[in-house]
């Protein structure tokens, strides 16, 4: 009998696996379209191409970046290259072309990829953490407890981990919560409006390659446009040369202003990579020796070369948020909470109907770890919203970050992306407290991150029966081994 059951379970298991892995929950008579996880993502991101592309909400400046690069390069190829190719060498447009494609490729890669967003905690996780914190602090009597921090020792250096009230997790070291995107991002560098995305663990190397190649492209175009004008003016005179190729004037102007900021930014990030720091840490002076004699960077590998290799050629971590996976339809409802009560009953009945399917969900889940997230981490916006008034007390020391904070000389130029980064460390309040407005913008800088404001968080149905579904779903496995 035992063997028979086991065999049946195995058959059940195998047959489940062999069927379509993406829609295990569909009962034949429930023709509900399954939502993908990006559609119910709790952060303030925009998704395109059915979840393949992920960007921040404000993408206006990104389009400006695209236009500037494409138009300037286009003018270069159209107006300057013919002359240069015939006069000097045809290698010029070729090299220019390669640089251009590399710049575009890295820009798109930076802008469209997941920067390393940490998924929010499940209800169980959050409850467990709350219990631990209450045990340590003593149970709070209703008013908002003080900001929660945890001190740990990393390689001999004391580091404080902060509790993120939005994501309900203790942020890993070097992670930070971006107020513009409303996500915790691993190894958070800064939020860059020019690429329309956060720069974090997963896309830092693309970002660095982008600004590096853009520096080369800018210098390349600048110098060859000047060469072009100079060569022409030898034969025809300066003003005639300018009249003959008016596009060159525009290119020179754009490149001249870009060169200072882009090259400066590249230099700054080269320094950051060499010392294995993030922009965030550098601005705050986290590892500066000015803080104390014993203060050093615990993440640095010791020498510049290893740090560079680790940042640029290190292992490429996968995305932790499964954008294109399917949401189990009866667990998440992107509707106002008033519908939640009615859904509960429906959920129960559906869970019974789908028992057979659910019984080995977790086995499948374990087998296909990231492919079919049938049990998912639940974003709970309802809890977040109810605790909104209290959140202002989290008081991360963001407000005390003036731009004039002592930093290494290489960071002093008004680098375009840096002034935006102050926005990220805002307490996890809603965007009307957006910090970038406080940052003095360098001349010519577009104000970043206009207040996004409203209702970014879709209230989710917070199913109390999540655990009963969970228990249903793995009973088969438990029984399989216990009989």
């Amino acid at each position: 009998m035992n063997l028979g059951i086991k065999e049946h379970m195995r058959e059940c298991e195998y047959s489940q696996i062999s069927t379509s892995s993406s829609t295990p929950m569909e009962s034949p008579h429930k023709k509900r379209t399954l939502k993908r996880r990006w559609e119910v993502f709790p952060g303030r991101n925009k998704f395109y191409c059915n979840g393949r592309i992920m960007m921040a909400r404000q993408t206006g400046v990104f389009y400006l970046t695209l236009v500037l690069i494409v138009v300037t390069s286009g003018l270069f190829f159209a107006f300057d290259c013919p002359f240069l190719a015939s006069t000097l060498t045809p290698a010029i447009p070729v090299i220019g072309g390669v640089l251009f494609f590399f710049v575009m490729g890295t820009l798109l890669r930076t802008s469209f990829s997941d920067p390393g967003v940490l998924p929010r905690a499940t209800d169980d996780e959050a409850a467990d953490l709350e219990r631990q914190i209450d045990t340590v602090n003593g149970t709070s009597t209703g008013y908002r407890p003080p900001p929660r921090t945890k001190e740990i020792i990393i390689n001999g250096q004391t580091v404080k981990l902060k509790y993120c009230f939005t994501c309900r997790i203790f942020r890993p070291p070097r992670a930070s919560h971006c107020s513009l995107c409303d996500n915790c991002v691993e190894r958070f560098d800064h939020h860059c409006p020019w690429v329309g995305n956060c720069v974090g663990k997963r896309n830092y190397r693309f970002f660095y390659m982008f600004i590096l190649s853009l520096s080369f492209l800018t210098i390349f175009i600048f110098s060859f446009v000047l060469t072009h004008v100079v060569l022409r003016s030898h034969s025809a005179g300066f003003l005639t040369a300018l009249k003959d190729s008016p596009a060159s004037v525009l290119e020179v102007v754009v490149c001249f202003f870009s060169v200072w900021s882009i090259v400066g930014l590249s230099g700054f990030h080269t320094y950051l990579i060499g010392s294995n720091q993030t922009t965030n840490e550098d601005i705050k002076g986290s590892w500066s020796s000015k803080r104390g004699k014993e203060n050093y960077n615990p993440y640095s590998h010791g020498n510049i070369f290893t740090n560079c290799c680790a940042a640029l050629c290190g292992p490429f971590p996968p995305s932790l948020i499964d954008r294109r996976g399917f949401v189990v339809p009866d667990m998440v409802q992107p509707t106002p909470p008033t519908n939640g009560v009615t859904m509960y009953g429906a959920t129960q009945s559906q869970s019974h109907m789908c028992d057979q399917d659910q019984c080995i969900q977790s086995t499948k889940f374990v087998l296909q770890a990231a492919a079919t997230p049938l049990l998912q981490s639940e974003p709970v916006a309802i809890v977040d919203e109810s605790s909104l008034p209290g959140r202002t007390l989290t008081g991360s020391p963001r407000a005390s970050l003036p731009l004039g904070q002592p930093t290494p000389p290489t960071s002093s130029p008004n680098l375009t992306c840096e002034s935006e980064l102050l926005g990220h460390e805002a307490p996890e309040t809603y965007p009307h407290l957006l910090t970038p407005e406080e940052a003095p913008s360098p001349p010519g800088m577009l104000p970043c991150g206009s207040p996004v404001g409203h209702g970014h968080n879709v209230p989710f149905y917070n199913p109390a029966n999540q655990d009963s579904l969970h228990e249903d779903s793995i009973r088969g496995l438990v029984k399989l081994s216990s009989v």
Binding site: G4, I5, H8, M9, G105, T106, L118, P119, T122, D124, E125, D128, I152, I153, I154, N155, I169, P172, P173, M209, Y299, T306, C309, A310, L312, C313, G314, P315, F316, P317, P318, L320, Q348, S351, D355, C359, T363, F365, V366, A369, A370, Q376, S377, A464, Q466, D467, S468, L469, H470, E471, D472, I474, R475, G476, L477, K479, L480, S481, S482, V483
Partner: protein, 158 residues
């Protein structure tokens, strides 16, 4: 087949989720993925300490292997850069390969060791690599109840 299925239905009502234990990340060596090997007290009566520690240590080793910075990762990084990172459309990164190994290992551990003791390990990658979630099940011992799937029992095993 029908008889076996009927028995399975009955058996299915016998287990209920009692508690979830979370093994947190150990950041003492930096941001590498590593979990605490400290044995949680809630599992005291459920599983032997050595088995648990072995599982966590093996997982830690897997993650260390995935995040190792060495010849192979440099090669992968340089190749990817040279192909403008288009190569990742075709091949899997080393990290992804190791993650697959990890999920196979966890499944095997669940089948052989944890499920017989009424426990279930959830792959950390589904929890954002923050925790190893171990679900603790209590066997209710009864069968055939049609109102089976009750709501979560609050942590009785605390």
């Amino acid at each position: 087949m029908a008889t076996e299925f009927h028995n399975l239905q009955e058996l299915r009502h016998s287990a209920s989720l009692a508690n979830k234990v979370f093994i947190q990340r150990d950041y003492s060596e930096g941001t590498v993925c590593k979990f605490h090997t400290k044995f949680p007290s809630e599992l005291d009566s459920r599983i032997e300490r050595t088995l648990f520690e072995d599982t966590v240590k093996t997982l830690n080793n897997f993650y260390a292997e995935a995040e190792k910075i060495g010849g192979q990762s440099y090669l992968e990084g340089c190749l990817a850069c040279a192909t403008a990172y288009l190569i990742f459309l075709c091949i899997e990164t080393r990290y992804e390969k190791v993650l697959k190994k990890i999920s196979r290992y966890i499944q095997e551990q669940n089948e052989k060791i944890y499920a017989p003791r009424g426990l279930l390990i959830t792959d950390p990658v589904e929890r954002g690599m923050r925790v190893i979630e171990i679900s603790v099940y209590e066997d209710r011992g009864s069968s055939g109840s049609t109102s089976g799937s009750s709501s979560t029992t609050s942590s009785s095993g605390q």
